[in-house]
Symmetry: C2
């Protein structure tokens, strides 16, 4: 009955994608009873030059190479995760359709701006009963609604998708420094009792993920065939858990994904007060207030699916928030903007080559969304961050605004 093994593919190969591929490949090797050893990793192909001081220079010479070729020859993503040996069972593949075609488990780990196009390319070229986990950071906010990337994947591909988030700065995880993560994965009932069909009239899962948009959801899931091991919380745990990477699997998919997006607004606020030279007390207050607003936001938009404990007790919640407020681009850029007396926008121009911070776009989108729903006053910190970004208020006014 369980004659088949799960085949895993990673969609994306930045530093976090490559790190996750490393973890997964370590585990597929360690559990050959359940998983095929090989882990396909879709790589957006590009030419790379091997630096003179690279240990791979001798093997690869001084000409440029395709990134996939480099990864498959020297087992290192020399461009995005240099210095970290990837297990040899990670196989880089420049063709996303070929990378995912046999995979029963898909792990999405790419920048959010590439997700739409990638899903478009994949559509119809993956197993219809595949299961997925999204490590994509952020949320989509448009027309008065919030969409999680796990939801987008579920709807576009018609496959169930959970979410992974945590205090997981990629280079630290890649270096196997101890950390934790949270995976939101609530197996569709059909996978557990191998009975139910999942159709628009029987959409327990999407229902739990997003009460508010159930009527427009058209995902029809197919059951994972009986000859595969059941894709339940235990199997997900087994696929991701490492001695240096402790995994909690929770049912709250929405909470996990939301935390990873909303924390960036709070990190900006923490950077603002740090830039003023205010101390640890102030930063701790910002973190606490931010955490409360994150919960409030989750309760508003996902009232029946979000679990407060995801925010207050899980790595995706409080731990990732703390880590993001101790460093990271959002925190640092906000701090610099106050120290230099310029706008965050100017910092984005001068220090980030015009690249937008995730926190600034999230703050604006979230405040627009809240304003549309008449809820902005319930979120004084989010609102204050947005107004500071716009130059409408100064950081000195924060204590008063947070009363």
């Amino acid at each position: 009955m369980t004659g088949k093994k799960h085949k895993v593919a990673v969609v994306g190969s930045g530093n976090w994608g490559s790190t996750i591929a490393k973890i997964l490949a370590e585990n597929t090797r360690e559990h050959p009873d359940v998983f095929e050893e090989e882990v396909q990793m879709w790589v957006f192909e590009e030419d790379v030059a091997i630096p003179e001081d690279s240990p791979h220079r001798q093997a690869l010479g001084d000409q440029t190479h395709k990134l996939t070729e480099v990864i498959n020859r020297v087992h290192e993503n020399v461009k995005y995760l240099p210095g970290i040996a990837l297990p040899s069972n990670v196989v880089a593949n420049p063709d996303v359709r070929s990378a995912v075609k046999d995979a029963t488990i898909l792990v999405f780990n790419l920048p959010h701006q590439f997700i739409d196009k990638t899903l478009e390319q994949m559509k119809g070229h993956h197993l219809p009963y595949a299961r997925a986990v999204s490590c994509v950071k952020g949320i989509e906010v448009a027309n008065g609604r919030v969409t999680l990337f796990s939801e987008l994947i579920m709807e576009k591909l018609g496959i169930y998708c959970g979410s992974l988030s945590g205090a997981n700065i990629a280079p630290e995880v890649a270096a196997e420094e101890f950390c934790e993560t949270t995976i939101g994965y609530d197996p569709p009932p059909m996978d557990l009792d191998a009975k139910q069909e999942f159709s628009p009239d029987n959409r327990h899962v999407i229902n739990k993920q997003r009460q508010r948009k159930i009527s427009s959801t058209s995902a029809v899931l197919q059951r994972v065939p009986d000859d595969y091991p059941c894709v339940d919380e235990k199997l997900v745990h087994r696929l991701f858990e490492r001695p240096y990477f402790h995994v909690h699997v929770v049912a709250d998919v929405a909470g996990v994904a939301l935390c990873g997006a909303l924390k960036n607004i709070v990190a900006l606020a923490a950077g603002f007060v740090a830039g003023k030279g205010w101390g640890e007390n102030s930063k701790a207050a910002i973190i606490r207030i931010g955490l409360m607003e994150m919960i409030r936001f989750g309760r508003f938009w996902f009232p029946d699916s979000v679990d407060e404990k995801t925010f207050t007790e899980e790595s995706a919640g409080v731990a990732d928030l703390v880590a993001s407020c101790s460093g990271g681009r959002n925190f640092r850029s906000a701090k610099h903007s106050v120290e230099k007396g310029v706008s965050v926008n100017e910092i984005e121009q001068s220090e980030l080559n015009g690249q937008k911070l995730q926190g600034t776009s999230t703050a604006r989108a979230v405040c627009d969304f809240l304003s549309t729903h008449g809820k902005l006053n319930d979120f004084p910190l989010f609102n204050a961050v947005n107004r500071i970004l716009d130059g409408g208020v100064s950081v000195d006014e924060l204590p008063k605004l947070l009363k």
Copy 2:
């Protein structure tokens, strides 16, 4: 009916005691309808020399002075809170009995090792219906029981006592950098309905504070006379709230006090992993796991009074924990011990003149206590910290011990 005003006294005058006196004196001035303006502050008398570069050198000359005399003349605690102007209505008093004799509200803010002796001196010399708030850090653990300082004050003096704790590094609060605090204050029923007497047979409050020790409690509280404004949550809030010091009053006195003690164990663990050079992910994981064990500890010893939200949502909980794991003596000393490859005990000798860290004594006492109750295995982080202190395990084993 409300003809009388509350008179406030602070017992203790270190940097935190002086900071709190400043806050209280600002508020007694701002609310003359409810409070007497003058705030007495008991100062452990000592001789101080005025440094040459002090702005007070001209006024005070080069001879030594009594600390109380200096405070009352130049309105600055030049020894313990230099550079911060105290309101002129803070009156330093070297005699604790005289300082507290008319006070209806006592705020305890002194190092825990002085509390027993001070209470002994005060006994019978304070108003029998006074109400108190303890800012004393730590807990007493002996003979298989945990005692909070609020409980100790309540029992020794026979007056109701709440507790205050938060992410409140004293110099930052004194400099009026924005922060928050939590006050656990659950008014005795008699103060609210002005009816009940509080006796050993009617001990609602102590019951709520400590279920487990109720039979040995002998506090008999007296009602605050009707001609004083009611000492309820609102009045407590009014007495402590400042534009830069935001106050939440909660009913969970035990949770507030516990957080302030247990966080120090977690701060040691955070210092250990920082000393290994592990990054923000690791520290965030330690904070999260530590927070969970703090809650578990509270639930075990104060099962009916501790509120999990005090830990996860209040400044006394998550915020103070985060601040303590970002700096502070426990964190730094643990970090140095790992960096230098010596024991924390050696750091206490070499860097702290033999003074013991609050975290090391709390870790030992708490683990002894848990061991007595057969609960040590439910607290892997607390246990690991204690074993690292004893040299029984190494920091490298932490991830395995926390599985």
